[in-house]
Amino acid sequence: MAEDILVEFEDVSFTYDRRPVLKGINMKIPRGKVVSIMGISGSGKTTMLRLIGGQLKPTSGRVIVGGEVVHDLDSEGLYRLRRKMGMLFQFGALFTDLSAYDNVAFQMREHTDLPESVIRDLVMMKLNAVGLRGAYHLMPSELSGGMARRVALARAIALDPMLMMYDEPFAGLDPISLGVIGTLMRRLNDALGATSIVVTHDVQESLKMVDYVYYLSQGVIVAQGTAEEMKQSTQPLVHQFVWGEEDGPVPFHFPMAEYPRDLGLEQANA
């Protein structure tokens, strides 16, 4: 591939408590693109983000970000790399004891020597980008779910990261907030010249804005392609997921015993 690759998974496996979570993942994320990792809950999507951020180490294989093997870095190198990353957590993960303003200013204060007046301008610009400049003084408990997610987004882009990671950015949002967050993610990616990885199971919303999709099932990438290719896929797993069908390769039922036996009918018949 001639493209400039920012994040690469090379045959990555990850085992948690003897349970294999990821099995031989190979994935390339080109610079400047918005790439989505999709799959049902528990398929190992969030684990992939944690591997990229160096919060977990792969059991085997390599995760390479910007030319550096993440798990070979010492803690200083890891922190240096993380400064170039932004992450939006599932429910925002805002610091509940700090106002929206202070949340966005947090990283600037921790990592730079900028004077407070400059920080103020930067924070206001970031909050303006997510449409919440007027809410700078509110505490996280005073924000709605969608607003909190937007403040968290402003916080994640505080230091203009080269790589943005979104962990279920659409979870639990109303349709309007959903659209707003989706549009913001795309717009910020292009404005910042960043690369984005979106982990989600919200198919319809994410297919509107992503460039490329990896579909993960039980720790294996079973399908990949552009949003359009995914929509038209005839592969049963992907088809069931994209169109939200109740039954298919992913069964409705959890593995179980025979129904009559659980109802005690066998003994009755006997």
Binding site: Q90, A93, Q107
Partner: protein, 264 residues
């Protein structure tokens, strides 16, 4: 039958290994906290903020409890001393009981249930809501930024609270003994002054309260940091903080007392 014994033995082995593992993990956590304390001192405002939450906000319960414990000591002490005709020694009894034992121990127990439980719940919830994870991803070390300032705040607050507890207790003893019952005021204070030794009694009490401060804060922070990120996990960790640190205070008190006051 042998199978059941096997299961029992395995259970015991498992819990012993688990306990040792947790102790090792907690020790490593403690070492990391101390090693990464630089930020807390460079940016002392971080620690000051925590001193406010764990120290200043514990003042009311500490002061009120100190006063009541002192007043009870006044009554009980007077009753016993009166039998031997040495009511004047009431000041000595009240002061020594407080600075040697009750001050550090009761203040420590109150500190564990007031500030320790709050620390555990706060850290546990920060973990459950991914705030700790967010710090890591922002390249901010949560041990240096969140844990260490709270640790030093606890270590600094605890001796001060114990001292205030003892002071209020002495005042409570004075209120009951001198003002209410009518023990001679001069004897009350002068006997106290001559009998309480600065190094033997007061310093040893201060050492105890510093040790309790370290133990309670360490346990509280570790339990919070180690709590499973669920409602049940955090509530269990909060309970464990209060139970473990109370037991630790009493056990440490016994050991310290045995070392400090042997031969006296």
């Amino acid at each position: 039958m042998p199978r059941r014994v096997g299961i029992g033995l395995r259970g015991i082995g498992h819990s012993v290994i688990n306990g040792v593992w947790r102790l090792g993990y907690a020790s490593r956590f403690f070492a990391l906290t101390v090693l990464r304390s630089g930020t807390s001192f460079r940016r002392f405002s971080l620690a000051i903020r925590e001193i406010y939450f764990s120290g200043v906000l514990s003042l009311i319960i500490i002061l009120v409890s100190g006063l009541f414990v002192g007043m009870v000591l006044g009554f009980q002490g007077f009753h016993t001393l009166e039998r031997y005709g040495s009511e004047e020694a009431l000041g000595v009894l009240v002061a020594l009981s407080l600075v040697r034992e009750l001050g550090p121990v009761v203040a420590g127990l109150l500190f564990a249930s007031r500030a320790g439980s709050a620390m555990t719940a706060e850290i546990g919830l920060m973990k459950a809501t991914e705030q700790i994870s967010a710090l890591e991803m922002m390249a901010v070390d949560p041990i240096a930024r969140v844990i260490a300032p709270r640790f030093w705040a606890g270590v600094i607050s605890m001796p001060l609270l114990a001292a205030l507890f003892s002071a209020m207790g002495v005042f409570g003893g004075y209120l009951v003994g001198v003002v209410l019952i009518g023990v001679d005021e001069g004897a009350f204070w002068s006997q106290m002054q001559s009998a309480v030794d600065f190094r033997e009694d007061i310093m040893n009490g201060v050492i105890k309260s510093v040790v309790f401060g370290i133990a309670v804060t360490w346990i509280a922070l570790f339990e919070g940091y180690d709590a499973p990120p669920t409602a049940e996990g955090v509530s269990g960790a909060t309970t464990r903080t209060v139970v473990t640190s109370s037991l630790a205070i009493l056990a440490l008190d016994f050991v310290l007392t045995a070392f400090m006051f042997r031969g006296h």
